[in-house]
């Protein structure tokens, strides 16, 4: 029964990892951009949550109301006035600029907040749990995070397949020039895509801050988890990314159960194995 509990924890953790991955997936799918600073933006959102909680007195979950729109605006401006300039045929500029951003962000946060470990306290919800059976109970917070991850992906699927903006995103992702012939302003659409990605990052960052300790240096690890979830799941499918996140979460949970020091390593190893034997991921989109 220990193992069932472990696997359930892993699945719920996967919801958070799927949220890390969704932002990456979005950016790559629409703009072919990989943001090396992705994890650091998640931590930025965590710190923004901290600031909102300490200065405005909101509860951590309520801080989402401020952090999400704020991060979306930051994302739009970042893309429109900085990252759009790096897009083109060469892979170096976006990679190197976002890598630079990652280092800058980490050290700015370090200067502003010091290296102290922080955490957002959400009160009782952190320890509350729902008992499913005699041996199995799930934490309310992990469940909430997981369901949020599913809801985010569901909302994005709706956006992409049932709205005009989503159509514009898909068209631009297919063929930028022809999308322009339809009246789409690429720079604006890319800005919106990044705003959307940053909104998801904001949700993930606040939940992360409630769930666990964070400090300016933990961003890159989140980038890696998100990246692994995307690759495990397969490019091009948001539900595949959820599956990837879940697999990663379960791998880490099982690893931790065997030996606490093996948690993260187990995730990396599972990722590498899938990369070696199934380089396209487990649920890749057939059209590439």
């Amino acid at each position: 029964m220990e193992w069932v509990n472990t696997i359930v924890q892993g699945i719920l953790l996967g919801g958070l990892y799927a949220m890390f991955a969704t932002g990456l997936s979005l950016m790559f799918g629409i703009m072919r951009l990989v943001n090396i600073a992705h994890g650091d933006f998640i931590i930025l959102a965590s710190y923004l949550g901290l600031v909102v909680v300490t200065t405005l007195g909101f509860s951590p979950l309520a801080s989402l109301l401020v952090v999400v729109p704020l991060m979306a605006v930051i994302g739009y401006l970042l893309q429109r006035y900085l990252l759009n300039k790096t897009l083109g045929h060469d892979i170096l500029p976006p990679l190197l600029v976002t890598f630079g951003l990652s280092i800058i962000l980490q050290n700015v946060l370090l200067e502003l907040f010091s290296a102290d470990s922080q955490k957002l306290k959400a009160g009782d919800i952190e320890v509350a749990s729902i008992t499913l059976s005699e041996q199995l109970s799930v934490g309310v917070l992990p469940l909430l995070v997981f369901l949020s991850g599913v809801a985010v992906i569901g909302a994005l699927q709706f956006l992409f397949y049932k709205t005009e903006l989503g159509r514009a995103f898909r068209a631009t992702s297919d063929d930028q020039d022809t999308a322009r012939l339809m009246g789409v302003s690429n720079s604006h659409i890319f800005g919106l895509a990044m705003a959307l990605a940053m909104a998801v990052v904001a949700i993930a960052g606040v939940f992360l801050a409630i769930r666990t300790n964070f400090d300016p240096t933990v961003g890159p690890a989140r980038l890696l988890y998100g990246f692994e979830a995307v690759i495990i799941g397969g490019l091009g499918s948001l539900w595949g990314t959820l599956a990837g996140g879940i697999i990663l979460g379960v791998a880490q949970a099982i690893g931790a159960q065997i030996n606490p020091g093996w948690q993260i390593l187990a995730g990396h190893v599972v990722f590498l194995l899938i990369l070696i034997f199934r380089p396209r991921g487990l649920f890749p989109r057939s059209v590439d």
């Binding site: 990679l95 280092i103 800058i104 200067e111 890696l224 190893v269 990369l275 070696i276």
Partner: protein, 347 residues
């Protein structure tokens, strides 16, 4: 059509007057550097050693990214591996420390082969992050090996330290000359590589993969060879770094900030895709670090901002700007056609 016979009227030439001048200046600088341990202080020696190893790391990263199109954010894997292999060889296999430095490089190069086969499945930015994951696997893996000190690492035993050299100044001198040798060798190897036909293959790949593929350049083999070579030399540097530090731990060995961030900034600011670029970049890095020494991690912020601005406004870097403006090539790898006589060519 007139057929031009070589050596009659034209020749393919590489050296320029500036490059010949630069060669002389370089030789002089090297001679001065060789005499340094006999008159400079310990701090200066250490600084030159540090300059040497950043230069070597930068040349290798530049070889990968600027010439082979492989942008790795995981070279710290090989730095750390090199360091750990040094400790293993010196402590458990009784290899003399300086020999162990170079032997570590060989081991790292061998380990880089399966690594390459794994990460080459990814492309572009995903390849970059993949290399990072590999480095993390090494970091977390070594933290689990208690014989090597586990998470807190270990120091080089005093007996091994004394094997480097009897007294401290002798040890410092040996490390100094090893570092100097490695730095010069890394620049030399890159220079030699690019002047050879492998260099042509690399430049072709960099300019256009599909075109070079259709011309018969074996892209996979070339990239693999460059990756393994860079890994090996990075491993040698790593071994040297931790020989000097006398202590290793997973976080120090596989640190992104120390071994990758600084190196990437050096190459980007100096000028990617040139041999002179990393040299200039290392100079700028040390200058900035010296200037901003009192302000904590601010120098990294400044470095990052400068790198981002350069990537946006002047992607060819400082050296690229200078070389274009003054048509300078200190390490000539380009072949030029020099037409000797007056020739009337039918149009």
């Amino acid at each position: 059509m007139n057929m031009l016979k070589p050596s009659d009227s034209y020749s393919v030439v590489r050296n320029t007057t500036t490059s010949r001048g630069a060669a002389v200046v370089t030789a002089l600088i090297l001679i001065v550097l060789i005499t340094v341990p006999f008159w400079a202080g310990r701090a200066d020696l250490r600084m030159i050693v540090e300059f040497a190893y950043y230069l070597a790391l930068a040349q290798m990263w530049n070889l990968l990214a600027g010439y082979a199109g492989l942008v790795s954010v995981g070279q710290q894997a090989f730095v750390g591996l090199g360091g750990y292999m040094l400790f293993v060889l010196a402590i458990y296999l009784n290899v003399p420390p300086v020999v162990a430095v170079f032997l570590s490089g060989v081991i790292v190069a061998v380990l880089a082969i399966p690594t390459a086969f794994t990460v080459f499945r990814l492309r572009g930015a995903y390849f970059a992050i993949g290399t990072w994951v590999v480095a993390e696997v090494y970091r977390l893996g070594f933290a689990q090996v208690s014989t090597l000190g586990g998470g807190s690492g270990q120091s080089l035993p005093a007996t091994i330290v004394r094997e480097i050299g009897a007294g401290r100044s002798e040890r410092e001198m040996i490390i100094y000359f090893t570092a100097l040798f490695i730095a010069v060798a890394s620049v030399g190897i890159v220079y030699w590589l690019l002047r050879s036909k492998h260099g042509l293959a690399l430049t072709a790949i960099r300019d256009s993969e599909p075109a070079s593929d259709s011309l018969g350049v074996n892209i996979f083999k070339t990239k693999l060879a460059v990756y393994v070579l860079a890994a090996g030399i990075t491993g040698v540097v790593g071994a040297l770094i931790f020989l000097q530090k006398l202590r290793i731990s997973p976080d120090a060995a596989f640190s992104v900030q120390d071994w990758t961030a600084a190196v990437i900034f050096i190459v980007v600011i100096g000028g990617i895709g040139t041999i002179e670029g990393p040299i200039i970049g290392t100079l700028i890095y040390f200058m900035l670090r010296g200037l901003l020494a009192d302000y904590g991690s601010v120098y990294l912020i400044v470095l990052g901002v400068v790198a981002v601005v350069i990537m946006l406004k002047a992607p060819q870097g400082v050296w690229g700007l200078l070389s274009r403006k003054f048509d300078l090539h200190l390490f000539p790898v380009h072949r030029r056609l020099e037409i000797k006589s007056d020739l009337e060519v039918e149009r």
